[in-house]
């Protein structure tokens, strides 16, 4: 044997040995992770095991919403961060919850809705359900409520959960009446106690903590509460100190938990795990390693579906995904910076935007447009959208032009059909098309946009580019997310492209998420930004619009942060309507009428170019679990990070596959 051959054979043999050692099966290693079946172990008795050792058929596996946890052992709800990965859905309990199917609040820890004790709407009595127990067997009573409120008030300077500020500014006083009853007095007349001390859409500002645990801590702000005592039907069983996963186990006494009355949560275990970047997530999803994804891109979903028939989207018809998220995508403008201070210019931007083209290019047409600055959902449509359709159709700009395009959705469907989308995947009939793609949007009319711009002295030069009245080129900066939000990034580039085609010199600037927040919140930095905002889920629009007040306006280049009114909108009518609505019962028809009037003002001023509902792409893999919320089985929104997850874990069914 020649010398090099000998050496090389030794190297190759060594490498093979290394490979074999690395490929040792989990059983040989005495542990569950990795090995066969792409990270899952096969056991004769229990069937497939997850990579954390639980039987796969008893474990619901969910892609985490917040990816890797930065601070995995921090489980103290008085401090920031202990919300994602199941705390909000499976661990904590709330006085009132939101039914995501209807938008209505319902009592969870409370026995009923708050009882109003005075005509000023400032004093309330709340009765708790009896027979609810913490996971360590101690009964939940008003002692826990009063202790939590005491802690909020006494430790407010040290607690970093921002909702502590919300509560201490909202509540004036509180007292226990008996073991299951307490009263609170609010600083101002309040009609939203159930969504401040209870859940509004995503979370609650008030999270009761167990007195018997917390009162023993010398400093609650330093207490991490790792492996917390919970009110929900699950407890943390194990978590990754590096923050990639967290495993919850159903309590033996789940019936005595905060929402045990809803029925038995079906999975014995719920595993939240970050399966990595989308490239590896798709592969893991195809291998049935997890059941529910969060915000997977449409392209990846299609690729996964082609390889695994158990992967489904929210609907088998376009636009395939759920459109009931509370927030929408839209363009925020600094209305104090010329030329954006003129309504004609803002309208010109809206009319220069070919939204059909944007939606097809960026999202393959899988979107739902909304001309009003609000999401067009099944809850909000009958209250705010349908009554305003006639007004939108007749609405004219000062020059007499009617900008609304009621045929937007039908035209979009026609274009999608032309582009090869199968007819059976497209909605049929006017109503179905409207429900799928929205009630309409603004016309794409660059000619009218040019007329509007010309009317304020902005004209095209010889190169076909718009110039300002002083002759300089109008350069518009559009801030968009970088790779950290690929869907918005694509939408942002498509918007910029559309505006450029119309002759507007746009610089689409991608920024990291930290800079994105600063641009959004600091007055001087903003020109235009593609944003997700205007989050309204229930008919109570004040949670999003409460800050649109004249007092919150600042100069165009003011360097201080914005305190509300991110639209930088100066509208006295709206200011008055908001103030009036704050003193109203939200079920009052006048409250909703005010909401519609505010929407009309938004449109008249084009104060915010609302674009579309956020396409919430949550594909599910029904190999191990079935009966997830779908378009034709809509018992809750399909999100795993909202109240809806409680309904999901109660309603899903095992398929029996092991």
């Amino acid at each position: 044997m020649s010398q090099p051959g000998k050496y090389l054979r030794i190297i190759i043999f060594g490498l093979l040995m290394l490979l074999l050692a690395a490929c040792q099966t989990p059983t040989e290693a005495g542990l569950s992770p990795a090995g066969a079946a792409g990270g899952q172990e096969q056991s004769d008795q229990q069937g497939t095991l997850t990579d954390v050792g639980t039987p796969r058929h008893e474990t619901l596996v969910v892609q985490t919403f917040d990816r890797k946890s930065a601070n995995p052992d921090q489980m103290n709800p008085l401090m920031q961060y202990a919300h994602w990965r199941g705390f909000r859905e499976l661990g904590w309990g709330f006085l009132w919850e939101t039914d995501t199917g209807t938008g209505e609040s319902y009592p969870e820890l409370a026995a009923d809705m708050p009882e109003v004790l005075n005509p000023e709407h400032t004093r309330f009595r709340i009765k708790l359900k009896e027979g609810i127990y913490w996971s360590d067997g101690v009964e939940f009573t008003t002692d826990d409520i009063i202790y939590t409120l005491d802690t909020y008030f006494n430790e407010r300077e040290k607690l970093t959960n921002a909702n502590v500020n919300r509560i201490v500014n909202y509540i004036k006083s509180y007292q226990a009446i008996d073991r299951y009853t307490f009263e609170v007095e609010t600083v101002n007349p309040s009609y939203d106690l159930h969504t401040v001390m209870g859940v509004y859409t995503w979370g609650s500002a008030f999270i009761p903590v167990p007195k018997h645990i917390f009162e023993k801590q010398p400093d609650v702000s330093q207490f991490r509460n790792t492996y917390p005592v919970t009110l929900g039907p699950y407890v943390v069983k194990e978590f990754d100190p590096n923050g990639f996963w967290q495993l919850w186990e159903r309590r033996e006494d789940w019936e005595r938990s905060a929402w045990g009355w809803m029925g038995e949560p079906k999975p014995k275990y719920v595993l939240y795990k970050d399966f990595g970047p989308e490239e590896t997530r798709v592969l893991a999803f195809v291998q049935n390693q997890y059941d529910v994804d969060t915000f997977m891109s449409p392209d990846s979903i299609k690729a996964a579906q082609e390889r695994n028939p158990y992967i489904t989207t929210f609907s088998d018809k376009m636009p395939y995904h759920n459109m009931d998220d509370a927030c929408s995508y839209g363009v925020l403008m600094n209305q104090h910076k010329p030329p954006l201070d003129k309504a004609e210019v803002r309208w010109a931007l809206a009319l220069s935007l070919d939204l059909k083209e944007v939606g097809i290019n960026a999202l393959s047409g899988e979107f739902k447009a909304s001309p009003l600055p609000m999401v067009d959902t099944r809850i909000l449509r009958p209250i705010y959208f349908e009554p305003l359709i006639p007004w939108l159709q007749e609405f004219t700009l000062p020059d007499g032009y009617k900008p609304f395009d009621p045929n937007f959705a039908a035209d979009l469907v026609a274009r999608l059909a032309e582009s090869g989308v199968p007819a059976e995947e497209l909605p049929q009939g006017e109503e179905a098309i409207s429900e799928a793609f929205g009630i309409g949007w603004w016309k794409y009319d660059p000619a009218e946009a040019e007329r509007l711009l010309n009317s304020v002295g902005i004209t095209k030069n010889a190169d076909g580019v718009y110039t300002l009245p002083d002759g300089s080129v109008w350069e518009l900066e559009l801030v968009i997310p970088g790779d950290w939000n690929k869907v918005m990034q694509r939408v942002g580039f498509s918007i910029a492209d559309s505006w450029r085609k119309a002759g507007i010199q746009v610089n689409a600037r991608q920024v990291d998420n930290a800079e994105f927040s600063k641009v959004q919140n600091t007055n001087a930095l903003l020109t235009t930004i593609l944003n997700w905002t205007n989050c309204i889920f229930t008919p109570n629009y004040l949670n999003s619009w409460h800050s649109i007040s004249l007092e919150n306006l600042k100069a165009a280049d003011a360097t201080e942060p914005i305190v509300g009114n991110q639209y930088r909108w100066n509208n006295a009518t709206v200011d008055a309507l908001i103030k009036e609505s704050k003193a109203m019962d939200q079920s009052d028809p006048k409250f909703r009428e005010n909401g519609r009037a505010i929407l009309q003002e938004f449109v008249k001023d084009m104060a915010y170019i609302n674009i579309m509902n956020i396409p919430t792409t949550i594909p599910t893999n029904e190999y191990y679990w079935t009966n997830f919320p779908k378009q034709d089985n809509y018992y809750a929104v399909p999100y795993t990070w909202w109240s809806s997850f409680k309904e999901i874990v109660v309603n899903i069914e095992p398929t029996g596959r092991r």
Partner: protein, 333 residues
Amino acid sequence: MKLAQYIAARLGVYVVVLFMGITITFFLPRLMPSDPIENYIAQLQNQAGQTLSEAEVMQLRATLAELYGLEGSLFTQYINHLKRIFLTFDFGPSFASFPRPVSEFIWVALPWTLGLLTTTTFIAWSLGNFIGLLAGFFHNNRLATALEVVGVLIYPIPYYILALVFILVLAYIFPVFPLSTTIRPGPLTWSKIQMIATNSALPALTLITAGFGWNILSMKSLAYATKEEPYVTFARLKGVPPRKIMISYVFRNALLPQVTALALSIGMIFNGALLTEILFSYPGLGLLMRTAVGSGDYNMLYGTITMSIMAVATAALVIDLLYPLFDPRIRYK
């Protein structure tokens, strides 16, 4: 005496590099167009239903500025920063995970990054140099040429693509490795070591494959050139056995530039950490840095970058101090 001067000079450079690095890392994050307080408030505002009133937002800003230690002039903050690092090795609390100290996060993440990347860097270096030596010394042998071709083919492939190919082939088509890292907590037992090895195998294999190509090519050229040197020819004519010629005459002399390259590649360890950790969901400093940038967490950035600077500077110092062992010219200069 000359050797002592050499060591003293290297130590002096080491201290200056550390001081400059720590100073730059203090100011750089503050030039970033982000703000940890605004970032936190924006997160809250984006969580529907938790919209704070104007007064509450103002109050929260003031509270966070005080808690985060962002009050006072930049100079005051800088002096406090230096005092904390040099006196107590304290980087302060993480803003994104307040009040947990940054150093805690670093001590958790550092072993993963150092363990994986140091091991793979040395394996890739040793393997590449060994194959390169054989390919250069026995340049007419077909097997040696074949391995050289492998090096030439692999070297230009971007790491990201190479990693995805490995994932696709070895975790999806032939699922012998896990797609993402899952390591359960618990004491460091033999089973846990095996678990770590199993979960680290694919990232390690990718890093080694991506790393050794250059070493093959570089060492092959050096070995080929060195074996034509007159002192090698003289040794051959004198009847010195080929193995001794290869190891003692060719390898030792070709090694010096490669040792320098190793020092440089150790400096690249922390760059490599980011992509590896993202793609393989592998815990470590790279992901900590990425998260810190995304959330404007100044202190976490100070901590992770300072640790990187210290690690790289220390590695370079160690290599510098080892040089006299490899090169007698330094020893006897």
